[in-house]
Amino acid sequence: MFKLNPLSKLIFLSILIAIGFLNIVLSCALYDNWLPLIDVAIFLVAPLPNALAQSLSSAYEADFLSDSHQEIPIKEFFKFMTGFLVISGIIFPIILFHCHLITHWSLILSVAGGFIIYLSIVLFIVGFKEEPDEYDF
């Protein structure tokens, strides 16, 4: 993977998340209908289960190495919740559109904005993860 200066990475991610919020706020404000703002909440919660699973797995692997292949059941549940929340964030504006609560431009803007917010949070987690491999040996 290409190496980036942490500062430029940070600036890039902040611009990305600002674009995401801009999209969602536009989708609300242009049509004077603030229902798509709930989508932000769903996409902000979406990365939480995987983050929790990450900390859980590191705590377990510190305990023992022999059973590292065994998937902890709670980790499977967290993965399930991640899939649930990401798809929820995409479906939620579609439902609002289907029930004639928002217009189709509002639908496009809010789905794109929510997805960009989620993407930037995931990129932040991936980009600033410390390398655990160096301490294994």
Binding site: E76, K79, G83, F92, C99
Partner: protein
């Protein structure tokens, strides 16, 4: 060792890598989300743009609740208790596991058939077969169907994992 396989045909091998398993779990979560939001959509649709006299009430949610309870029950069982041979685990625990699995599968089936029953009794028999009204009923079927599918995927993933661990131990 060969009897540890899930399917009788050796062609039906599922990809065994960790990433494929994670992807399958994500997909099952996504399917569950589709089912859940289909029900929510039917309710909101009935409240807002619905022009007919039929409305989504608590009765429409019962198949969904049955399917969800079935999914939870089926996937909470420890698979080792079901797969253990006679000499290994105690018989009563295996019997209990089978009973709980039976209850979970029954709940899933009740959810599926309940949604079909609901569509027929509440919509088709009474003559509400034009599209925007029938759409609320069809979403009920989509919801229970996708929840059942997500449950099946989760179940298969967990069983494949058992196989994987076994082959790794040898």
């Amino acid at each position: 060792m060969e009897s540890q396989r899930l399917f009788r045909f050796p062609i039906l091998r599922f990809p065994n890598t960790q990433a494929a398993k994670a992807a399958a779990i994500y997909i099952s979560g996504a399917l569950y989300a589709i089912g859940f939001w289909a029900m929510v959509d039917a309710s909101i649709f009935s409240k807002t743009v619905n022009a007919s006299v039929v409305h989504v009430t608590f009765v429409d949610w019962i198949p969904f609740i049955c399917s969800t309870l079935g999914t939870i029950t089926v996937n909470m069982i420890d698979k080792k208790q079901l797969m253990a041979s006679d000499s290994f685990g105690s018989g009563s625990i295996r019997w209990q596991a089978r009973l709980v699995l039976f209850i979970g599968c029954t709940l899933l089936a009740v959810g599926m058939s309940g949604s079909a029953l609901l569509v027929i009794l509440k919509y088709v028999v009474k003559g509400y077969t034009s599209m925007p009204t029938l759409g609320m009923a069809l979403e009920n079927i989509y919801a229970t169907g996708s929840i059942t599918l997500s449950c099946i995927i989760l179940w298969v993933v967990q069983n494949v994992e058992e196989d994987y661990n076994y082959s790794l131990a040898l």
